[in-house]
């Protein structure tokens, strides 16, 4: 059940990000200066931390999405769903640890 809960939570989180993302990117059509101004406000540690959360959500949602595809279309998928969920979590950690280190050293290291 928790894979399903996490999939929904990350999905809704990504939806709200895309909502804001489409709006701020559309701003370039209004005026490139306004766009630059808005993008400049993102360059602070709080948004830097939010970006870690965004990547964490996208990476989980992507791998778990593949797991759900296998549960739906691979005849043995439902039997191995727990193993596949464990694989999703392992891949998520393996990708998130180096990313978080590198990303945060950019955010806080200047």
């Amino acid at each position: 059940m928790w894979s399903w809960v996490a999939h929904r939570v990350t999905g809704i989180g990504i939806f709200f990000f895309l909502f804001a993302h489409v709006l701020d990117t559309a701003l370039v059509r209004v005026s490139p200066e306004a766009y630059n101004e808005v993008i400049d406000t993102y360059k602070n540690p709080i948004v830097g931390l939010l970006e870690v959360g965004l990547v964490a959500a996208v990476v989980f949602h992507a791998f778990n999405g593949l797991r759900i595809v296998l549960v739906d279309f691979w005849s043995k998928g439902p039997r191995y769903q727990k193993h596949m969920f464990a694989t999703v979590l392992v891949l998520w950690v393996v990708l998130m640890v180096p990313f978080t280190i590198r990303h945060l050293s950019h955010v806080f290291g200047g």
């Binding site: 059940m1 894979s3 399903w4 759900i68 549960v71 739906d72 279309f73 005849s75 998928g77 439902p78 039997r79 769903q81």
Partner: protein
């Protein structure tokens, strides 16, 4: 001759104190369900059902729950024990953490009538609607309808269902939408859809192709974890989904 010496000593079964935290609701006096604790002395061989019996028979006769065979076949005593749907008659007390109270609640998603008894009518209605009986055309054969062991094995898993509602009442989709057929009805349909002797597969698949049919399943796997018979419920639901997608039984 040595067997006598090895025979277990009578009364050697360990006994312990256990606190049962029961979800009680009396529709005649209560507006809200309430928790009630009872501490009883039980033995290592006792099940949750034995503790409920002890409370009902020796402490409070008004405690209400269903049970018939008490041996995991009739499917009457599915309840939510320590937050998980199980049969009270198949859950040994010694397998639960005894340092904390053991919570016993009615199964979720169905209206509570009294204490641990819920209204099972919507559950059985869903089962009825998938036509859980053999559908054939033409004249009846003069002898039994034959089936190969391979064809029989195709739906073996879903024949094990005892209709206890542990799966359906563990499903978060069913909690939020009682119109959903629920895992059990789909298991019941699976048992006939994949039976080579049955000719009603198309009708049953059409029924389950409904908005509240198999497509409401979000593969949370709660039903598979809850099934006291070990049926791979989600697997059965997925097979019905694929039969609908590819029209291949």
């Amino acid at each position: 001759m040595t067997a006598v010496a090895e025979a277990p000593v009578a009364g050697a079964v360990p006994s312990f104190q256990v606190t049962m935290r029961l979800r009680r609701f009396n529709p005649e006096t209560d507006t809200e369900p309430r928790w009630e604790d009872h501490t009883v002395t039980m033995h290592g061989t006792d099940r949750v059902l034995d503790a409920l019996h002890k409370i009902k028979w020796e402490i409070d006769g008004s405690l209400t729950f269903r049970r018939s065979c008490a041996h995991g076949i009739c499917g009457s005593d599915a309840m939510r024990i320590n937050g998980r749907n199980r049969l009270a008659c198949k859950t040994l007390l010694k397998d639960l953490p005894l340092d904390k109270p053991i919570t016993v609640e009615p199964i979720k998603g169905l209206a509570v009538l009294k204490d641990l008894v819920v209204d099972m009518d919507p559950f059985f209605e869903a089962y009825k609607s998938i036509m859980p009986f053999l559908i054939t055309t033409g004249n009846d054969p003069s002898r039994e309808r034959r089936q190969s062991p391979e064809d029989r094995a195709r739906y073996d898993d879903t024949t094990k269902c005892i209709m206890c509602a542990a799966c359906t009442s563990s499903c978060p989709v069913y909690w939020s939408d009682g119109q959903y057929f629920g895992p059990q009805a789909i298991v019941g349909a699976h048992r006939f859809i994949f039976d080579s002797r049955d000719e009603g597969a198309e009708q049953r698949l059409e029924i389950l192709n409904d908005r509240d049919g198999v497509w409401r399943c979000r593969t949370t796997f709660n039903c598979t974890d809850a099934c006291p018979r070990g049926i791979e419920v989600t697997k059965a639901i997925q097979e019905v989904k694929r039969a609908l997608l590819f029209r291949r039984v």
